[in-house]
């Protein structure tokens, strides 16, 4: 299954956007972890930016960056959102309220608690009525989302944006579910080669294979502890592939017994 890539958005600890992260991802510069700074998404008006929860902010930020790079209108593309969990603060607040005497949940908190909240805000912010799905596959949510997005792009011949994100949980949930850092990545995928395409991805679902890792220890730690950052080997290959014209091969773990095998070519 082949898809073409025409835009990337990236936001992570010390990774402030795709272009700004290229030197770190190619190894030309030293990676310096820093708290994730989420840039304001042009898709969120200022009053919504203040009220929006972290999952919404980070998903809309990387989505906007990827579409700006692709030159494609966001509203016309289908979307696949994927996350290993929901918005940690929202869940923690609702659980605390329900454990208290009055149990009065805020209606806004409640609608923000649905797994597809970022997809809902995305649709409102971009005016998109295109199909949109929201997946969860625990630690393998990025691989599951990439599979779904690539299959949708090829079977429907549509532009599909994959938006993968994770944010940290507050205590006490962080004690049972540790997420390394807030991290999000967006990829705009198409079936046909387009003007903005810069790489092709050949994706194959296989039996379990050795998973690609990051050489740099801090980036490898980020990859291991943040499900959306399981995308890092793919991002590093794309960053390196842009500099040369070779082929890169990457393996993403998918469930206990499968893998996604990726061949990446610059176009």
């Amino acid at each position: 299954m082949r898809v073409y890539l025409e835009g990337i958005g990236l936001c992570g600890p010390g990774l402030a956007g795709w272009q700004a992260s290229l030197p770190v991802l190619t190894g030309a510069e030293i990676y310096r972890p820093a708290p994730t700074l989420i840039p304001p998404s042009p898709f969120l008006p200022p009053n919504e930016r203040r009220r929006a929860v972290q999952t919404v902010k980070i998903a809309l930020a990387v989505g906007a960056e990827a579409f700006a790079a692709s030159g494609r209108e966001a509203a016309a593309a289908a979307t696949v959102f994927t996350s290993s969990g929901g918005d940690g603060e929202t869940i923690d607040e609702i659980m605390n309220v329900l454990a208290s005497a009055d149990c009065q949940i805020s209606p806004t908190r409640f609608h923000n608690s649905v797994h597809n909240a970022p997809a809902g805000y995305w649709s409102i912010a971009t005016g998109s009525r295109s199909p949109s799905s929201s997946l969860c596959c625990h630690d393998d949510s990025f691989a599951a989302g990439l599979l779904e997005a690539a299959v949708q792009a090829t079977t429907e011949n549509a532009a599909v944006a994959l938006i993968a994100y994770d944010v940290c949980y507050p205590r006490p949930l962080s004690l049972v579910r540790k997420i390394g850092a807030a991290f999000a990545v967006a990829l705009v995928l198409t079936r046909e080669l387009a003007d903005a395409s810069f790489a092709s991805l050949d994706i194959e679902l296989t039996k379990k294979l050795a998973t690609s890792t990051m050489v740099e220890p801090e980036l490898e730690s980020l990859r291991q502890h943040t499900p959306a950052a399981r995308s890092l080997p793919l991002l590093a290959a794309l960053a390196g592939g842009l500099a040369s014209d070779g082929e890169a091969r990457i393996t993403l773990a998918y469930l206990d017994d499968m893998a996604l095998s990726l061949k990446i070519h610059p176009v």
Partner: protein
């Protein structure tokens, strides 16, 4: 209308399906309940919810813990999943498909919105007073995490193919049909378990209460005096595969799927039903059918004042006023993330057994509505049925089921 976001889909056989709701367990009982106009709604007994309302609660789940290898998955949501997998011959049908295709060639694409959130609600009430920590033994990944349901179903059925959970609120278990159809079309798998589960928990009860959309009485879809939803819980599963000669003329097929978003509001539908109409239109295009070829529409129809109005606009704009429609929310309540799978199963039963399901608890149709609403169930030949599911975030999905072409 040509819609560039939709391609025609190759029909898929629903080679088996199962369901458990508050009104009935399994296909035979569900059929009898639908034909008789029964309702599983009863005064809410769940937890300590203090406000008067009716719920579609499934009896006996507290007494059916998951044990052995599946003990870590033990929560209300996965217990109900197991109950539905073991209904009728569904588990045997999956085993037969596994023997035919191989475990790695069968996908599990299931939906849930609640997952095992109830476990976390309970854990927060039992936090350590000194440290604030959650009790030992609380297993986040296997219960609360949204993927837990697919992991459990995949393990319980001995499958090794691709899997994920779709969690798009009340449209989740309709949209899994779309994911599975694409996966089979792309050759990623040969068959798939779709459907899903949602179960009662305080988050949904208090959450919908906070939104002011819970009725005190049993919900009355499309009634002039409708006051809101009754929350239910349910599980429904279907086994999808490419049609083949083993599938007799009684086999129901998935013929079309349409997905859309409202781009309007997080928890209210577009007042004109623009997104809903688009989902129905895309489903028709995907199936290659004209509106007049749909014999029955199972409406989303949750009985909120605004939701039913929006759906009336959407349906009549596309179908006119002749197509028979009903909401079955009065049968077992709004089962939230499970409603897509349950209502697809209701449609399959209606087609197989030739009847239009009625609308228990609806007493007097709102005269402002234009659609052809079926209050009392009655026999009728149905070749093609549509099922509508709409959710928070403005997500919409319509399925078309029917006999093989």
């Amino acid at each position: 209308m040509r819609d560039q976001t939709v391609t025609r889909m190759a029909p898929l056989a629903i080679s088996d399906f199962s369901l458990v709701t508050s009104v009935a367990a399994g296909r035979a009982q569900s059929l009898a309940a639908l034909q008789a106009g029964f309702s599983g709604l009863a005064p809410c007994q769940f937890g300590a919810f203090p406000y008067p309302t009716y719920t579609g609660e499934i009896a006996g789940l507290d007494d059916q813990p998951l044990t052995g290898n599946f003990a870590p998955f033990d929560c209300r949501n996965n217990r109900l999943a197991k109950a539905a997998l073991l209904q009728d011959d569904f588990f045997e049908s999956v085993a037969a498909a596994r023997a035919r295709y191989g475990a790695a060639r069968i996908g599990v694409f299931v939906g849930t919105s609640t997952s095992g959130l109830l476990q976390t609600e309970t854990a927060y009430r039992n936090r350590d007073q000194a440290t604030g920590e959650l009790p030992a033994g609380f297993d986040y990944a296997s219960t609360h995490n949204t993927y837990s349901l697919a992991r459990f179903v995949r393990g319980f059925c001995g499958l090794e193919g691709p899997a994920f959970v779709v969690s798009t609120a009340c449209a989740a278990t309709a949209k899994v049909f779309a994911s599975a159809a694409r996966m089979i079309d792309a050759g990623i798998c040969d068959a798939a378990i779709v459907g899903g589960v949602d179960t009662l928990c305080d988050t949904t009860l208090y959450g919908f209460h906070a939104l002011g959309v819970i009725a005190e009485e049993p919900c009355r879809p499309f009634d002039v005096d409708r006051k809101g939803i009754s929350i239910g819980e349910a599980a429904g599963f279907a086994l999808l595969e490419r049609p083949n000669p083993r599938h007799g003329p009684e086999t129901i097929h998935l013929l079309g799927v349409g997905e859309s978003a409202d781009a309007y509001h997080m928890s209210s539908p577009h007042p004109e039903g623009i997104g809903a109409r688009l989902a129905m239109q895309r489903a028709l295009y995907s199936a290659g059918l004209a509106p007049a070829q749909i014999d029955y529409i199972n409406l989303h129809g949750t009985a909120t004042p605004v939701g039913d109005v929006a759906e009336d606009h959407a349906v009549t704009a596309l179908f006119g006023a002749a197509t028979a429609c009903s909401s079955t929310k009065g049968v077992c309540g709004h089962t939230l993330g499970a409603s897509g799978a349950v209502e697809a199963a209701f449609c399959a039963l209606a087609i197989q057994h030739g009847f239009l399901p009625g609308s228990p608890h609806t007493q007097q149709l709102d005269p402002d509505f234009h659609l052809n609403y079926i209050m009392q169930g009655r026999p009728a030949r149905i070749d093609h049925a549509m099922s509508n599911s709409f959710g928070f975030g403005g997500v919409n999905c319509s399925l078309i089921l029917g006999r093989a072409a």
